[in-house]
Amino acid sequence: MTAQAPAAAAAKTTPVISVRGIDMVFLKKQPGVVDKTAKRLGIARPEPVGVHALDGVDLDVFKGEVVGLVGESGCGKSTLGRVIAGILAPTAGTLRFHGREFDEMSPQERYRAKVAVQMIFQDPFASLNPRKRVAEIIGEAPLVHGLVPRNELSGYVDEIMLKCGIDPAYKQRFPHQFSGGQRQRIGIARALAVKPQFLVCDESVAALDVSIQAQVINLFMDLRRDFDLTYLFISHDLGVVEHIADRVVIMYLGRVVETAPTAELFANPRHPYTQALLANMPRISTEKQTFGQIKGEIPSPLHPPAGCHFHPRCPFAFDRCAAERPRLITKSAGISAACHLLEESSR
């Protein structure tokens, strides 16, 4: 399967997952001791601030595609993954599955849609129940969802384990008896056991050693071919995303700043932030690299800068950047970026 074929074919069809204008605000739920005391004494306190984790995010993922979602800590990439996987309900915005809005679905449809979207987590030590045997971890969900009758379950679990490269002879073992790479395979097997169409992989190879990481990346690519899967692959590692994704979405402080087909994005980054990420990405080479072209810290998502969130660190920033939020401008099919410079240059 070539990388371009599914993307081109999918362009005409409805996306598997489509999100529009997603906002996610995490508010401080409980007022702290200081707030309570201040209230009792009648002192005015500032309004509780919320973290705007996602700020008007649009994203389409088409069938058979691997979309890489890249960003640094606090950019909202995991939150978006959780919203898409149905774990978090967004504050505002719509989520569509095969063109049908989640809120308009009948309870049964919604239930089926949720099973079809599965998530694979970062930490293979925290995401498996330590008290359950592997056979139970993998077999529980298909049994509960009525996908496999109880008498066929054992054979089904064996089959899934084989597909994920775990020896079915180990099915009576507990998670602690496996290495990190094997546990990640168990996590993948658990997600696959409910026959999903869409996988959200949240930093799923970040915790693994280089040689084990390569094994798991290969497994993801094999499974995509064998099960006709669609992925949202969330990672901070540009090298991994460059390898596995067909299309890349770059996020910064809750907003999408650029999206483009992988080869295009790496060859011709349009947003200054993407350019900075690529320049600072360590690569295997025989020559020394010059690091650190971008100054400053990632601002706190509690108090993001006005206008373009990236402007305080951007070498090309001008007056407009501090005042006005740049829109995501589509430059050509599938390529868009949110930067005032692009707008100015296309005038």
Binding site: T2, A3, E72, S73, S179, G181, D209, V210, S211, I212, Q213, A214, Q215, I217, N218, M221, H236, L238, G239, V240, E242, H243, I244, T262, A263, F266, A276, L277, A279, N280, M281, P282, R283, I284, S285, T286, E287, K288, Q289, T290, F291, G292, Q293, I294, K295, E297, I298, R313
Partner: protein, 330 residues
Amino acid sequence: MTEAKEPTLVVEGLKTHFFTEAGVVKSVDGVDLSVDRGEILGLVGESGSGKSVTGFSILGLIDQPGRIVGGSVRLNGEELTTASPKRLRSLRGDRIAMIFQDPMMTLNPVLKIETQMVETILAHRKVSHAEARATARDALGRVGIPSPEERLDSYPHQFSGGMRQRVAIAIALLHGPDLIIADEPTTALDVTIQAQILSEVQALCRETGTALIWITHDLAIISGLADRVAVMYAGRIVETGSIAEVVANPRHPYTHGLIGSVPSRNRRGTRLTQIPGMTPSFLALPPGCAFAPRCPRATEQCTAMPELAPCPSASHLARCFHPMPEGAAS
């Protein structure tokens, strides 16, 4: 003055073993290293390869049940493995410093940055508190912390991860040490912040002539940062040489596999070269070459331990009976 010609740090045949109830864990089993002034050596290996224990051994920070059982560690010609605890204490933080992965581990959460830095200065120098504070302020400025004077009065939790790591680096640099050992210091940081730290470390080593050992699992960082690299596997160095030699022409099958398993743009969408199996347990190491069970080139000969041999130049060494042919890297 033979010592003057010797590199800043010379490690020869270092063996650090842990005597556990389950058996003897030979975490470091005959490691040779050297770093000279202003040089950056990358020590690369996967989890459990013994790279961190090598770093701790150099500083003499091995606790029970571990012990350095053999070999020598010489800093500017002075033997450290037999040095008294008092002597080691006066060297640590002064001549050798260490930077850890998690700066929360090295910074005391209940003390101001100033207190911690001044304490470090006064431990080694007889200066007034005001002078120490000035030194600390300058050190913070040097690692790129904005408004260092005010930041001295902050607590560690008031800094971001990247800034905390800068403080840790500033503390390591306080006395202008001859050698810094950095153990995965940027692993927990974001790409742009990691790049800032790498850039500053590169510049500082060039300016001050400090020798640096950068311990990491990430070959990509090493290839952009270091002058030389040593690849560790199961407690031994399997390949060492200049970055250009090792990256362009890896001779040990493990190094070759490691480079092959790094996703890079050349192999987009294709299967990554994967090393089959996993890192062996130290308690059940195979005889001879520890990599043999995972190695596609292994033969019966590999049940004996190969020596670290020139391959092909005297500066590029590999521990393998059947090294990869030249130009095997794709």
